[in-house]
């Protein structure tokens, strides 16, 4: 029996849920459990201004299907680990200390975990949220390679990404999400598109719109591929 035929038989036999059914089950779950902290529709950024970013409790999810790798999302929802050392809005989770501001662990929000079935349904639904198909379709990134040394120089000395992001555990800034796992978590074209123009994705992003050309964006994206593949 061919793979497609087998899958159809399992679905028809009720042994597996079809993707549409999974997503339908996930919608109620996501809208009930996630909407308090995550935007499932595009906020009115123009009206809300920067206050939207200050009040934000979790990343917007209305373009989750353009952003995440579904397998990673399903796995992470069952065992959510912290990707942003200083939380979604770092100024709300740090306090002053003698040498420099430090993260206040008590101020960090813990993400709830889902069971395997819930995670599968939620991930399927989230992948259907694709507000920014336009940005993905407009992006021409094709994965390539870069030497470790050159990639690291691009990440650090040339572009200063390490001011906010870590490219290996324990190295790099704390205010942005860790990037040594970006390749496992995120779709390649999303990474490239977001590096090129984070404001197009999120008008209130705290990541600067760099103005880098396509080649420079590709070098950085390929570096994230390189270090991501080293950190499975």
């Amino acid at each position: 029996m061919k793979q497609g035929t087998l899958l159809a038989a399992l679905v028809l036999g009720g042994l597996l849920q079809a993707p549409a059914a999974l997503a339908a089950g996930g919608e109620e779950l996501v809208r009930t459990e996630c909407a308090a902290c995550h935007a499932l529709e595009r906020p009115d950024y123009e009206a809300l201004g920067i206050q939207e970013r200050i009040d934000r409790k979790g990343p917007p999810l209305y373009y989750a299907g353009n952003k995440f790798q579904q397998a990673w999302l399903e796995s992470w929802l069952q065992n959510p680990t912290r990707l942003r050392p200083a939380g979604i809005f770092p100024p709300a989770a740090v306090r002053e200390a003698a040498e420099s501001d430090v993260i206040d662990p008590d101020a960090l929000i813990q993400h709830p975990s889902l069971n395997a079935g819930q995670a599968s349904e939620a991930a399927a639904y989230l992948m259907s949220l694709q507000y920014h198909d336009d940005l993905i379709e407009a992006n021409g990134y094709e994965p390539g390679s870069i030497a470790q040394r050159m990639g690291q120089l691009n990440f650090t000395k040339f572009n200063g990404c390490d001011a906010c992001h870590s490219d290996e555990p324990g190295y790099g800034g704390l205010s942005g999400p860790e990037l040594y796992t970006a390749w496992q978590r995120l779709q390649p074209k999303f990474i490239a598109s977001y590096i090129a123009d984070p404001v197009a994705w999120d008008p209130n992003t705290l990541m600067p719109k760099s103005g880098l050309n396509d080649d420079a964006v590709s070098r950085l994206t390929n570096y994230l591929k390189l270090i991501g593949e080293e950190n499975p």
């Binding site: 206050q51 200063g160 205010s175």
Partner: protein, 119 residues
């Protein structure tokens, strides 16, 4: 030079323009969102990212250093990044995220930090 003298000199040189209260308040909010990660909650150049930085971020309370720079220089550094004023690449260009009015508001807030505290 004592700080009050610096402030008087700066006022005379036009380094501290009239600041509308709404601009400064909006600037403070923008500063909290975009700047404190490196420049610190209090603006002393000691943000949570400091241990990872190879260059100390500007202490915006350093009156002498801040008075040595015009509003136009501060605006340029925020809009076009550290490289544009021969400073570190670690200071990003925010001109793609913030419009000119927002950057002016940030400059107003920086002027409050450096030169108006305690007035």
């Amino acid at each position: 030079m004592k700080r009050p003298l610096l402030v008087v000199a700066a006022l005379a040189l036009g380094c501290i323009p009239f600041v509308h209260a709404d601009d400064a308040a909006h600037g403070e909010k923008l500063y909290t969102a975009y700047c404190v990660q490196c420049h610190g909650l209090s603006g002393h150049g000691d943000g949570v990212n400091l241990p990872a930085l190879t260059v100390q971020p500007r202490n915006h309370h350093d009156t002498a250093e801040m008075m040595a720079r015009s509003d136009e220089e501060l605006f340029k550094a925020v809009k076009h990044g550290g490289k544009s004023v021969n400073k570190s690449v670690l200071m990003p260009a925010w001109g793609g995220n913030l419009d000119d009015n927002e950057i002016h508001a940030l400059v107003s807030h920086m002027r409050n930090l450096c030169c108006r505290d305690g007035e």
